[in-house]
Symmetry: C2
Subunit: 283 residues, 2 copies
């Protein structure tokens, strides 16, 4: 099995580590514009060989794991070079733009639009870990546009690394993911900003930060290079979620200003059911 990973970081790197564990005969080729990343990935054993895009004609799988704006150019290029049996998939957090970008490509049937919902706040080849995808969800969009034989092989691979498959149209994906992922990142970044700004004038504030703060600002460690194009591509949906979030925060603030503590209690109690929802996720 020949697997190419284009963009060797957390997402692609973790995926090929699992593939290497499951298929010892697999050879993993790494393509990355950043030569340091290629060298690091070779040294860490994440990839077996450095490679170029042009070589993918014999690939079984090409994982395009680059920022979503770069994927808009790279996926069509990879498809240009792809062989008849080559499966090309992306892993981006937005799905409408990439699906539109390849809609009329002559090798559209070699492409499968995927969003494995997994990650950490770290990036680069050293962030690659085994088992990242175990029990996680992989959203597949427009599956009917991928050749049936290739679909089957791709889904077998996703299931082999432990993923549950969910099918969704690209627009629904982008709308829903704005709530459960994109908004979380902005809420976390802006929480970090608010506290850092305060710290400039109030020393030692972080000495008082506990595990709760750490949990809520964890995503503020995420890569701006990865996230800026995601927000750009999903602008409309993200703006909408932000408006709802700001409106909820403003309402909470007003309840506080009005000393309406019964309503504040009720608000929190009603959100407490997130416990049950999150436990459901772990099933």
């Amino acid at each position: 099995m020949k697997v190419y990973v284009v963009g060797i970081g957390l997402i692609g790197g973790s995926m090929v580590l699992d593939i290497k564990g499951l298929y010892p005969e697999a050879t993993v080729y790494g393509v990355d514009l950043n030569e340091d990343h290629v060298a690091e990935a070779l040294k860490l054993g994440v990839i077996d060989q450095a490679a170029k895009l042009e070589e993918v004609v014999n690939a079984d799988f090409v994982i395009v794991s680059v920022p979503v704006d770069v994927a808009m150019k790279v996926v069509p290029q990879v498809l240009d070079y792809a062989g008849e049996e080559t499966i090309v998939f992306d892993v981006g957090s937005t799905k409408s733009p990439i699906c539109e970008a390849v809609a009329n490509h002559p090798k559209r049937r070699n492409f499968i639009a995927a969003h494995p919902i997994a990650g950490t706040e770290f990036s680069g080849p050293s962030a690659a870990i085994t088992g990242l995808y175990q029990g996680k969800t992989n959203i597949i969009c427009e599956v009917e546009k991928t050749a049936f034989k290739l679909q089957e092989r791709a889904l077998d691979l996703f299931r082999a690394i432990g993923m549950r498959i969910r099918y969704m149209d690209p627009k629904s994906h982008d709308k829903h993911i704005a709530y459960v992922s994109h908004l979380s990142h902005i809420s976390s970044f802006m929480l970090g900003k608010t506290v850092i700004e305060k710290e400039k004038i109030e020393q030692d504030i972080f000495d008082m930060a506990g595990s709760g703060f750490e949990s809520t600002v964890r995503l503020a460690k995420s890569s701006p290079a990865m996230w800026t194009p995601i927000f750009k591509q999903n602008k409309e949906q993200v703006v909408e979620t932000l408006e709802e979030y700001i409106s909820n925060l403003t309402q909470f603030k007003e309840l506080l200003q009005d000393d309406n503590y019964d309503a504040i209690y009720d608000e929190m109690q009603s959100v407490n059911k997130i416990k049950v929802i999150l436990n459901g996720l772990k099933k």
Copy 2:
């Protein structure tokens, strides 16, 4: 050593578990209006005996770990009953109101105002765990108002369970903690609310939630009974942090609406330094 814990939940329960581990000769007495909690704490071995407030005259330590509004009544009552050598401390997340409530108590010198910054999103006796305070910060307010000999014994106990001590005046405590703790809780509750509201009309949205969402909404599992009085007591500071947070979110939304992606990138990159700050916390 006789230790009384008034309010047997996560905070007080975890503290007496550590005390029992360190001082096998200690007897832990539990006081709680909730009889189920007393029975549960006895069964779990969190406390050795059920007790009443009136019995604290021979106590070495009385830990008052009740919601901050309840503490306003209970701490003065406990002080009324306290013996000459009894150390009474609270553990609340607001410090000005409790310090004011005991300011003129004849046994003010038996009280030490404490805020051990530790916790989880769980509550009740079954949430009590050993080692919760290891490496965590304990903020002590108005230490000079506690009898010197009693200060010393209290600080020895806090250090024995692994805590670092920081001294702060109550007003500064309440101002800073609004940023690094109270705001995080509201941001998390309102994030949960925003997504739950959306889910009512968009099924299966939670199927797409990953570990990032889980991390940012973890605090939305917290107890409304504990948090409502905290927000009430620290209303002014919390409203101020909320206004700054809402303003930062609104500004981010406007950058997005203006397609100013360079500024969005810069915002996120500048908040990324939270990595270094959080790593510093772990030292």
